[in-house]
């Protein structure tokens, strides 16, 4: 059991040997490692998916303006726009990923999957997939378990935190979870699922974390939409058995290596990239508290 969720190769061979479905092995892990009952796992998954769907709907219905004003009802505008660039389904996918993430930026309730900064990707993709393919909730929950297994391995081999690995670690991981979950839900094989993860990671590698004023708003919200789109393109490619060539475990290793060598200013510090632009700095001056006290040495806490 110990080698579960240390690598994709290990996960695949474990499931082959024990004749388990991917999602069943994730349940087995949670039961043995965390002492949960299978029933409580399904209940918690159901709760998580409900919160995800609510976030999508809230973002498309309620007023969504962040305290900084940078986020201002973008999802609704996209959803209601008369021109569909590709198809109405694509328009809905993008607006739903934006919607759930806007809810996060505006202090609403979300599921951090895997993190709060990437909380629009799984809701946007799975909501839309379920609608298009008329999938059961049970199937989506199984897909979420597959996504959780993917994230557990990325956490082991690389990182899920923007402060450690940049944006690739947050939106990249969420997109990989989504792509894998989607291929699973559409009946893909284990190889196809892992290939979808590999392709997604290849598309998301190198993305830095450069939030304007340090807020989880710009560019986080639009990156949730682009990550949702990439998850879909990767799933489409993987289902057709077009190989990523570089195996999934090696793609994740590359992500870890890039994260480790990424300069600190590109890892959630708001010191580089978009945060360091002229406009980014101006916004930062306006949004961040300026009248902070600087204590004389003798008054500092010991």
């Amino acid at each position: 059991m110990s080698y579960l969720f240390e690598s994709f190769a290990g996960w695949q061979s474990y499931c082959q040997e024990k004749d388990l479905n991917l999602y069943e092995s994730v349940i087995e892990y949670e039961v043995t490692q965390r002492g949960k009952t299978e029933e409580s796992i399904w209940n918690n998954l159901d709760k998580a998916y409900t919160v995800m769907k609510e976030a999508v709907e809230t973002g498309l219905k309620e007023e969504m303006t962040s305290r900084s004003g940078m986020i201002n009802n973008g999802a609704k505008k996209v959803y209601n726009h008369p021109v569909s660039v590709l198809s109405p389904e694509f328009q809905r996918l993008i607006s739903r990923a934006l919607a759930a993430k806007e809810v996060n930026s505006c202090m609403g309730r979300v599921v951090a999957a895997p993190t709060a900064g990437a909380s629009g990707i799984l809701p946007g993709t799975l909501y839309t997939l379920q609608e298009i393919h008329n999938l059961s909730d049970k199937k989506i929950l199984e897909g979420l378990l597959v996504g959780a297994g993917i994230a557990l391995i990325i956490e082991q081999k690389a990182s899920l935190a923007g402060a450690v690995g940049g944006c690739q670690a947050e939106t990249g991981s969420a997109a990989a979870m989504a792509a894998g979950a989607m291929v699973y839900c559409l009946g893909g094989t284990v190889s196809q699922i892992f290939n979808a993860v590999a392709i997604t990671i290849q598309c998301m590698l190198g993305l830095i974390c450069d939030p304007v004023a340090g807020l989880v708003e710009i560019p986080c919200v639009v990156r949730n939409a682009s990550a949702a789109a990439i998850a879909n393109s990767s799933a489409q490619i993987a289902l057709a058995d077009v190989s990523a060539v570089i195996p999934v475990d090696e793609c994740i290793d590359a992500m870890g290596e890039i994260g480790a060598n990424m300069e600190t200013k590109y890892k959630e510090t708001a010191l580089g990239g978009l945060a360091a632009t002229i406009t980014g700095q101006e916004i930062s001056k306006r949004v961040l508290i300026q009248d902070i006290e600087i204590l004389p040495d003798e008054d500092l806490p010991e």
């Binding site: 969720f5 994730v26 892990y29 949670e30 490692q33 965390r34 949960k36 796992i41 918690n44 998954l45 709760k47 998580a48 919160v51 962040s66 305290r67 900084s68 809810v103 996060n104 930026s105 505006c106 202090m107 609403g108 309730r109 979300v110 599921v111 951090a112 999957a113 895997p114 993190t115 709060a116 900064g117 909380s119 799984l122 979420l144 378990l145 996504g147 959780a148 994230a151 557990l152 956490e155 899920l160 935190a161 402060a163 979870m177 004023a213 340090g214 807020l215 989880v216 708003e217 949004v287 961040l288 508290i289 009248d291 902070i292 006290e293 600087i294 204590l295 500092l300 806490p301 010991e302």
Partner: protein, 225 residues
Amino acid sequence: MGTKSSVFDMIGPVMIGPSSSHTAGVVRIARACIKILGGIPDEAVITFYNSFARTYEGHGSDLAILGGLLDYKTDDANIKKSFELAKEKGLKYTFKSIGNASVYHPNTIKLNLTKGDKKTEVVGESLGGGIINIAEVDGFHANFSAQSHTLIIKAQDISGAIAFISSVIAQEKANIATMSVSRKGKNDMACHVIEMDSGIEPLTIQYLRSLTWVKELIYIPDIDL
């Protein structure tokens, strides 16, 4: 530590956005504080330090800390309305920002709370991912995560106190995960902070409280409940 990540660390937690360290962690620090104080405060002076000093407002940590002090959980949608709710429930509050307390963790909050004639001062750190550390309680070093069952005992600094308390806990078959003891001075007041893997019975708490050398006992079973 040494615990493997859960499926619900990957698909979760369910929380109020935007950031686990600025909202979820901050709510949890406040919830630990009200357990220490023994209820919702009448008055709160909240100081945000270092990185938090500049960023708390933009991330809504002011709403998060008030929400936690009003006993809302990390996923409660009421947190967004905490200013109005604090007014409604008679919680008076003041915010301060101090930028250069380099001895503190980058995301540190100090809370000075009053409820009736009871006062407490707590220093909490938001470590990321909603994980917290309560660094100080009333000037004593505490350092607990509030993730498991925590016992804070303020007692006279007498010989055998640590052995006595730990043997009482042992009789409950509760495993001590971490324990830290600090004191004001020799034979002065000491503070025992004990994190346990499982809970202890109300009768045991009552017994410990009845000891003449125990001045105060706070039991925090789970701040998320």
